[in-house]
């Protein structure tokens, strides 16, 4: 593992691990590195909170209208199926 001082200074690497860790489990070495860094760096702790917030908004963004029942007109559907059937017969 790299020197403690280097770890505490390296916000670039810490924020990289924060991002990765929000999507996939980190290795033990990475978890320890991040723990050491965050214990000393309030700016990256703030980054982590704001990063989570962005994930939440992204999540909501793609699901915002998921509850609304979108459906197609029957006439459009018939047209679609017709085009498929034409291709099937070729």
């Amino acid at each position: 593992m790299r020197g403690i001082k280097k770890i505490i200074y390296d916000c670039h690497h810490a924020t990289y691990l924060i991002e990765k860790g929000q999507h996939t489990p980190l290795s033990l070495k990475d978890r320890i590195t991040l723990l050491i860094h965050l214990s000393a760096c309030s700016v990256c702790r703030l980054f982590r909170r704001q990063s989570r917030l962005i994930n939440q908004v992204m999540h909501g963004f793609f699901r915002a209208s998921a509850g609304r029942g979108h459906s197609l007109d029957e006439s459009i559907k018939r047209e679609m199926q017709q085009k498929i059937n034409e291709r099937l017969l070729k």
Partner: protein, 185 residues
């Protein structure tokens, strides 16, 4: 033709689902109708690739997702020629130590992000910031958050290494966060 695929019933079974899926991501009813139709026709061309390992719906959705991402990319194409390349990204960190550059240090938000009244505005600003990302970052970041697509699948589809994937995810996030701050949040 594999016996599992049943194109004669596709529209009945999946058209509404695919349409809602597209509309969630593109917000343009006419465009989404066209995409659903194109998805069915593209799937017909590729019937031989359908192995029945996934359900028909999953397979069709994957084809539609490609088309959505492709559109994202085309929308970004005009930007690509200008400023949306990696080279024009600011350096957020000191190259030697990796420490935050002072001007880019995260600051507490001026608003309470949990405030429900702010959700709409927050979403709108994030959308704007997303659109300023380099096109490749935009696609990768969106794909990951859109459906929680598996990292391996994204790497395969976008032809990037897994190491490169995390570098891009990281840069995109740092960039987006900085953008929100710049927009006054």
């Amino acid at each position: 033709m594999p016996s599992d695929a049943d194109p004669a019933n596709w529209v009945d079974r999946y058209a509404d689902y695919l349409y809602a899926y597209a509309l969630n991501r593109l917000d343009d009813a006419e465009l989404c109708r066209d995409l659903v139709q194109e998805t069915f026709l593209a799937a017909l061309e590729r019937l031989g690739e359908f192995r029945g390992e996934s359900s028909e719906r999953t397979w069709l959705t994957a084809i539609l997702r490609y088309k959505v991402i492709d559109l994202y990319r085309k929308r970004n194409a005009s930007w690509l020629a200008e400023s949306r390349t990696h080279e024009h990204q600011p350096e957020y960190f000191d190259l030697e130590t990796g420490h935050w550059k002072q001007e880019w240090e995260p600051r507490p938000m001026r608003v309470d992000p949990e405030d429900p009244a702010l959700q709409k505005e927050l979403t709108a600003i994030l959308k704007k910031c997303l659109e300023r990302l380099p096109a490749l970052w935009y696609s990768i970041f969106s794909m990951k958050h859109m459906d929680d697509t598996a990292t391996e699948a994204i790497c395969r589809e976008m032809k990037i290494s897994s190491a490169n994937f995390w570098v891009i995810m990281h840069r995109a996030k740092v960039n987006l966060r900085a953008c929100l701050q710049k927009e006054g949040l």
